[in-house]
């Protein structure tokens, strides 16, 4: 196995060059290659964190606006409902008032009509007495040819009316 031929001077020189190359690679990697990677990764992480923060802030803002809008909507709804309720009550009150007025007017008209009827009846009753007296006078004149005295006829008629 060539790896175990330790008499071969190339094995030692291989190790020498290994140390040189590995050492050089370590210097290149640690001084030149790795710092930019670290800074790029850091920048990216910072950027992502910042963007996330911004997104979170925007979301909070949107949430607040949403809550405000909902509150305003609820308020508007409550106001509208109150207005509707007031309008209904007002309409009801007006209707009741109108009804009462109507009833009062009708009652007044009924009363007036009744009064008129009573008056007419009284007038008619009075007229009937007169007519009866005249009729009795005329009838008596025809029957017996004597025109009775007005006062006697009136007394007789009222006696009959009472009888």
């Amino acid at each position: 196995m060539p790896q175990l031929e330790f008499g071969n001077p190339l094995i030692l020189s291989q190790v020498f060059w290994l140390l040189v190359i590995f050492g050089a690679l370590y210097v290149i990697v640690s001084k030149i290659a790795l710092p930019p990677v670290a800074s790029v990764l850091e920048e990216r992480a910072a950027k992502i964190a910042a963007e996330l923060d911004r997104a979170r802030a925007l979301k909070e803002e949107a949430d607040a606006a949403m809550a405000e809008a909902e509150k305003a909507q609820a308020k508007a709804r409550a106001e509208a409902q109150a207005a509707i309720r007031a309008a209904i009550e007002r309409a009801k009150a007006e209707a009741a008032k109108a009804e009462a007025e109507q009833a009062a007017r009708l009652a007044r008209q009924i009363a007036e009509a009744e009064a008129r009827i009573a008056e007419a009846r009284a007038k008619a009753e009075a007229a009937i007495g007169e007519v009866a007296v005249e009729a009795a006078q005329a009838a008596t004149a025809r029957l017996i040819g004597v025109t009775p005295d007005l006062a006697r006829v009136q007394a007789a008629i009222s006696e009959v009316g009472r009888g």
């Binding site: 196995m1 060539p2 790896q3 175990l4 330790f6 071969n8 001077p9 190339l10 094995i11 030692l12 020189s13 291989q14 190790v15 020498f16 060059w17 290994l18 140390l19 190359i21 590995f22 050089a24 690679l25 370590y26 290149i28 990697v29 640690s30 030149i32 290659a33 790795l34 930019p36 990677v37 670290a38 790029v40 990764l41 920048e43 990216r44 950027k47």
Partner: protein
């Protein structure tokens, strides 16, 4: 290199050959790996885009994968060692992956290389532990509350287990890479040898060919997994060094 005559030659793929003086073919692939890692990280991150493109995504995924591993295993204070773990992980990963290319040399299949990497980890971890905890570090070898009578047993066992980290780290990576590449080479040689036996042999060659296709997929998994294991064990050792149990 595949099959000289009728023999199976699975080991010559590991042979070192000098390119310039002491600079071997193995070192060439280390250089390619280091160049590819630097290119990926530096060119990939050049756009510095907020929404990364393909190459930048790859660079970022590699960064975050290793950074997550270090953070999870060692903790926040372990991020000091992140560049080291990143270099180690990427170097081994690219070494393993480059080895999957045909005709490429797999430098992680050399015990000398894996031992060197393991020793770097071992020395770093020990230095970190001593730097942070001073003399208290040696208490690591004798857990608090253990009966003093057992010290002659516990202390040597703890020291051996501490030292064996180098062995387990290096041999695991080395053995996995060697075994995988030997198997690939052996079955590939079967395909060539059976294919040379005429029409019946061509039918027979289908089996090792199919097996090799599966093995290549498996080896890609192993290539990643071994780099991951090496890096995560390094993190665990660093955790021990920083927190001392």
């Amino acid at each position: 290199m595949a099959a000289e005559g009728k023999t199976i030659d699975a080991l010559s793929q590991f042979a070192l050959s000098p390119i310039v003086a002491g600079f071997t073919n193995s070192n060439l692939y280390m250089l390619i790996a280091a160049g590819a890692i630097s290119a990926l990280m530096i060119l990939g991150m050049k756009p510095r885009a907020m929404v990364p493109g393909r190459l930048q995504s790859l660079a970022e995924v590699a960064y975050e994968f290793v950074a997550g591993m270090v953070k999870e295993q060692v903790g926040k204070e372990g991020m000091k060692y992140f560049p080291f773990v990143f270099t180690l992980f990427m170097f081994i990963l690219f070494g393993n992956m480059l080895g999957m290319l045909p005709y490429a040399f797999t430098f992680t299949s050399h015990i000398a290389v894996t031992v060197t990497l393991a020793l770097i980890v071992f020395i770093l971890v020990t230095a970190v532990a001593i730097a942070i905890h001073g003399a208290k570090f040696f208490g690591y070898f004798f857990p608090e509350g253990a009966p003093v009578a057992l010290a002659p047993i516990i202390i040597p066992v703890e020291i051996i287990s501490y030292l064996s980290r180098v062995v387990s780290l290096s041999v695991r990576l080395f053995a996995n890479m060697v075994a995988g590449h030997v198997m690939l080479k052996v079955f590939a040689t079967f395909v060539v040898l059976l294919g040379g036996l005429g029409s019946l042999g061509l039918v027979g060659a289908a089996a090792p060919l199919a097996l090799n296709v599966a093995l290549v997929g498996f080896e890609f998994l192993v290539a990643f997994l071994q780099a991951y294991v090496f890096a995560i064990l390094t993190c665990i050792y660093l955790h021990d060094a920083v927190h001392l149990h």
